[in-house]
């Protein structure tokens, strides 16, 4: 599968992680096998959506006419995996961040967007 069946890519406002049934390794992008132990047995778990912002870019180029500028972040979730999302308001590396789901992507889906403000 190239998408978790019940997460934001299917319109459900949540981040879903894969969890290895054998070694408890966790990942974000869907995988058929655990990259650490090779096991093919895994389960899915909803993420809290909280984490540490480790990277932010303000991008002035897109593949869509009129799509820029936009801001993207990498957030290391408290569960471990790194997630890419859009950015709402101010966010810099080192900030605690929390996910929201907003219609900011290139399509109509609600996409993960990280915010410092959402913590308060």
């Amino acid at each position: 599968m190239s998408r978790h069946h019940d997460d934001w890519t299917h319109g459900e406002p949540r981040l879903v992680l894969g969890v290895c049934d054998d070694c408890e390794n966790r990942w974000y992008l869907p995988r058929d096998h655990c990259p650490r132990c090779g096991s093919g047995r895994s389960s899915s778990r909803q993420s809290s959506g909280d984490g540490l912002c480790v990277a932010v870019t303000r991008s002035h180029v897109t593949g869509e006419v009129g799509g820029a500028p936009l801001s993207l972040a990498l957030v290391q979730l408290d569960e471990g995996p790194v997630v890419m999302g859009r950015v709402r308001d101010e966010l810099v590396p080192g900030d605690r961040a929390r996910v929201e789901f907003v219609p900011d992507g290139t399509g109509t889906a609600l996409v993960p967007s990280f915010s410092r403000r959402a913590l308060t």
Partner: protein, 382 residues
């Protein structure tokens, strides 16, 4: 160790915005230079490997080139590993001659990406190295993916936005003296920092241009002249595809280099000249540091101190790299190998690195996703 593959022909065209040729024109122009350099008739080529062109998008790139050049190989195929394709083709060619599948292998790439494709189309095609469901729909692009790497790098090392700027300045300094380079006007750190933001913290001069051009090599089972070079080691590393799955401590770069050097029986300290993929300032910084050629967070400071000059500690991309010689798709990463070959042959004139015996070339594809390293050695004694 017994050497089983030789670089016998090198072909590199000028890069730039050079309208008038299509992808196959560039490929065949480069291939002809490489065949002439090797002193070989096209009919002696036993295998052809061709890199993809994002402009032509042909399903059978090696067969098209072979027909046009009058080559009738026993083996022909296209390859695509992003920016690592050029060196991956060389690695495959070395394997084909080592196994005696072919005596001579032609490796070729080229495209008219600058003049034959709009920048919006290029951006959209290249963005597909990101995850189709989890990254691209957010508005991800290749500059944005590398900008995120740059942001994490600067933050984790406590550096400011000026830290990477000496790298494109050094590449430009090399290109000023290189005939055929896309950009040859000198630039300063201030120029880099005042260039327009592309994907912050990366600015225009942190990013390689999109160029037209081609590159080709002939890899052979035996030397064809005294100018032939030995391919003494190849190594690869493929740890992830997408940025969200990248481990910044272990992208695969050091694994590729380690495997190539082990095969060559050489240590990194024995390498005299380097050609390292530099699609962005952050790309070459992260690869140099993962290889151990600069301390963590210090690649920019090393560049500023002159460590990557032709007479520096680690002569690097002495043609100007992707950042200034230019980036014509797959051919872009092959220009580094062409330059290192020129250095090992002692043919680089004022840019010549002295006492040049061993070269290391490294290419990456995707978002530091696919890594291929090649070790070349002067001389062709089997």
């Amino acid at each position: 160790m017994a050497v089983s593959a030789f670089l016998t022909g090198v072909g590199l065209t000028p890069f730039g915005r050079l309208p008038g040729r299509d992808s196959q024109d560039w490929q065949c122009a480069a291939a002809q230079i490489a065949l002439d350099d090797a002193g070989l008739d096209p009919l002696r080529i036993g295998a052809v490997i061709a890199g993809y062109s994002t402009v032509s998008g042909h399903l059978m790139p090696a067969n098209v080139v072979a027909e046009r050049l009058g080559v009738r190989p026993e083996v022909a195929f296209g390859m695509s590993v992003g920016g690592a394709t050029g060196l991956a083709m060389v690695a495959q060619a070395a394997s084909l001659v080592a196994s005696a599948t072919a005596e001579h292998v032609l490796v070729v790439a080229g495209e008219n990406r600058a003049s034959g494709q709009s920048s919006t189309t290029s951006t959209k095609i290249l963005a597909q190295v990101g995850h189709a469901h989890y990254e691209v729909p957010l508005g991800g692009t290749v500059p944005a993916y590398y900008a995120l790497l740059a942001s994490r790098y600067l933050w984790s090392h406590g550096l400011d936005d000026a830290a990477l700027a000496p790298l494109p300045v050094q590449m430009r300094e090399h290109a000023v003296a290189t005939v055929g380079a896309h950009f040859r006007q000198p630039i300063t750190v201030a120029d880099v920092l005042s260039s327009r933001p592309v994907a912050e913290p990366l600015r225009l001069l942190d990013c390689c241009p999109v160029s037209d051009g081609g590159a080709a090599f002939v890899v052979s089972r035996a030397p064809t002249s005294e100018r032939s070079l030995s391919i003494v080691g190849v190594g690869q590393g493929h740890r992830h595809q997408h940025l969200s799955a990248l481990d910044p401590e272990d992208t695969g770069a050091a694994r590729a280099a380690g495997a190539a050097l082990r095969q060559a029986g050489l240590d990194l300290a024995e390498v005299d000249v380097f050609g390292i993929y530099d699609s962005f300032s952050i790309t070459v910084a992260m690869i140099m540091e993962e290889l151990g050629l600069a301390p963590p967070g210090r690649a920019g400071a090393y560049a500023r101190a002159g460590a990557f000059q032709a007479d520096g500690r680690h002569p690097l991309n002495t043609h100007g790299g992707l950042l200034s010689y230019g980036h014509s798709g797959v051919a872009g990463g092959m220009a580094h190998l062409a330059e290192v070959a020129g250095q090992l042959r002692g043919e680089r004139g004022a840019a010549q690195v002295s006492d040049c015996e061993v070269g290391y070339v490294h290419a990456d594809g995707g978002v530091l996703s696919a890594h291929v390293g090649v070790v070349l050695r002067k001389g062709s004694q089997p």
